[in-house]
């Protein structure tokens, strides 16, 4: 099964990444009638404060392992095919994508539900930590919101 999990310390173009991943599937692409994507982007506001930059810390090795485990468990449940997850690490500026998820499946349900479940689980299980730089100083984001 073609699968890419990639942590990036520089900005990337999510549309070019999605296009390149699909190209990589070659003829296999035609097996999948459905393709679902999620892109999470850094806003310039969070909980009432202007945010100028974000610092994303992670746990090298475990972070990639957790993402792979989440994908594997959801693939077993839902039956989707190829999967792409890209996540930023290090310093991120407003407007830059933080996370991209893409799933391919024969029928739409597996890709759509898989995308929703993977972003939800990634936010609560994969070891990443955000620190925001605001005019009032730096602050660690204390928890992720549900939904």
């Amino acid at each position: 099964m073609i699968q890419t999990i990639s942590l990036r310390d520089h900005p990337f173009d999510p549309y070019a990444e999605l296009s390149a991943f699909t190209t990589q599937l070659k003829a296999e692409r035609q097996l999948y009638g459905a393709e679902s994507h999620f892109i999470g982007t850094m806003r310039n506001f969070n909980e009432g404060a202007a945010v100028s930059t974000l610092w994303l810390e992670h746990y090298p090795g475990m972070t990639e392992g957790e993402i792979a485990r989440i994908i594997e468990e959801e693939r077993k449940n839902l039956g989707f095919g190829p999967a792409l997850v890209i996540h930023r690490i290090g310093q991120v500026a407003p407007g830059e994508p933080i996370v991209v998820i893409a799933l391919f499946s024969t029928h739409r349900r597996a890709a759509l539900e898989g995308t929703q479940r993977i972003i939800e689980r990634l936010k609560h299980e994969a070891p990443f930590w955000k620190k925001e730089r605001t005019p009032q100083g730096d602050r660690w984001v204390e928890s992720n919101t549900k939904g």
Binding site: G40, L56, E57, H58, Y59, G61, M62, G65, E66, H87, I98, V99, I119, L122, K123, H124, E125, A126, P127, F128, W129, K130, K131, W140, V141, E142, S143, N144
Partner: protein, 77 residues
């Protein structure tokens, strides 16, 4: 036994260190290990842990050569 400890994010700042190698005696679980690291205090609910890069709990057993990490709730995505 030899244990490699790692701290992340706000907990790393609170503890004032990124990692340490320790050789504790008479400990069985992650909770026991934390007491050694934090002057006898119990593992707070808000501190999460991993053993050998997999999510663990206070009652997870630790063994010689393990890597044990402590960190606050995760906030990626």
């Amino acid at each position: 036994m030899a244990i490699r400890i790692r701290y992340f994010a706000s907990l790393r700042e609170t503890m004032g260190r990124t990692s340490e190698d320790i050789n504790p005696e008479g400990i069985a679980t992650v909770a026991d290990l934390w007491k050694v690291l934090d002057e006898g205090r119990p593992l707070p609910d808000r501190v999460l842990c991993a053993v050998n890069q997999e999510h663990a709990t206070a009652t997870t057993l630790v063994h010689d050569g393990d890597e044990v990490a402590f960190f606050p709730p995760v906030t990626g995505g």
